[in-house]
Amino acid sequence: MQPIGFVFKNIIIMRRDIFQAVADPTRRAIISLIALQAMTPNAIADNFHITRQSVSKHLRILTECELIKPEQQGREIYYSLEIKKMKEIDKWLEQFRKIWETQFNQLDNVLATIKKQKK
């Protein structure tokens, strides 16, 4: 099974909302913050000039996208980053890059053919 697994590992199936999650600047800032350490919603909100309510909303969206994970520790909830999910974004971009690569290689062939015809 190894060779087949290797071939199809690169095809990433992804939920649309991950990209909505990282498209928002506040949410990107939250991700950068908790990438360093797990934090409570209060501690996260201290870093922004926005309401607690709005921080909660961003945390909810990030949690729904599985980019961050809440964990109960005593009376407090700590949010931590799901590194694996973040890596999926990079893999997705790699796919995008591959499509371009394929297109341009096709263009190379078209250009080579035309050049030959002209000679």
């Binding site: 099974m1 590992k9 095809i11 990209f19 909505q20 990282v22 995008f96 190379d108 062939n109 250009l111």
Partner: protein
Amino acid sequence: MNNNLLFDFTVDKAAKKVFITREFDAELSLVWDAFTKAELLDQWVAPKPFTSRTKFMDFRVGGRRFYAMVSPEGQERWAIQKYTSISPKTNFKMFNCFADADENPQLPGSEWDYTFSEQDGKTTVRITIYNESLARMEKLIEMGFTEGYKASMTNLENLLAALSGK
């Protein structure tokens, strides 16, 4: 394929921009034609096994190209490109969005900027794509994979993960 040709692809998530630079082993006028003439575009823009079919293309400022990416099963994915600025053999800009078969645009779209330059018989093309939403960029990927294909790949992925005990 020539591996010595420059190819650079970067994404600025904050600016919602994609930057692509590619070098081609051909003179500028030929590369310009390949990006601005329908009969040439159709020969390379679709990632195989897809094909590109241009219904009409009017390459002038305010003009449009209406085309479809056609899957091997014959499924069409229509898009409109509207040219917003043209400086012959140097630069052109366009607005791109998906559409239905009746030319009704599906917003949001993306803004494309192409710059061409030639040196020592090689032509460099610089492309900047601005997307209102990064999520939309994912649709471009979908062109390469039909829903059914994706679903079967997910099944296979799950199966392989289960078999390898991950």
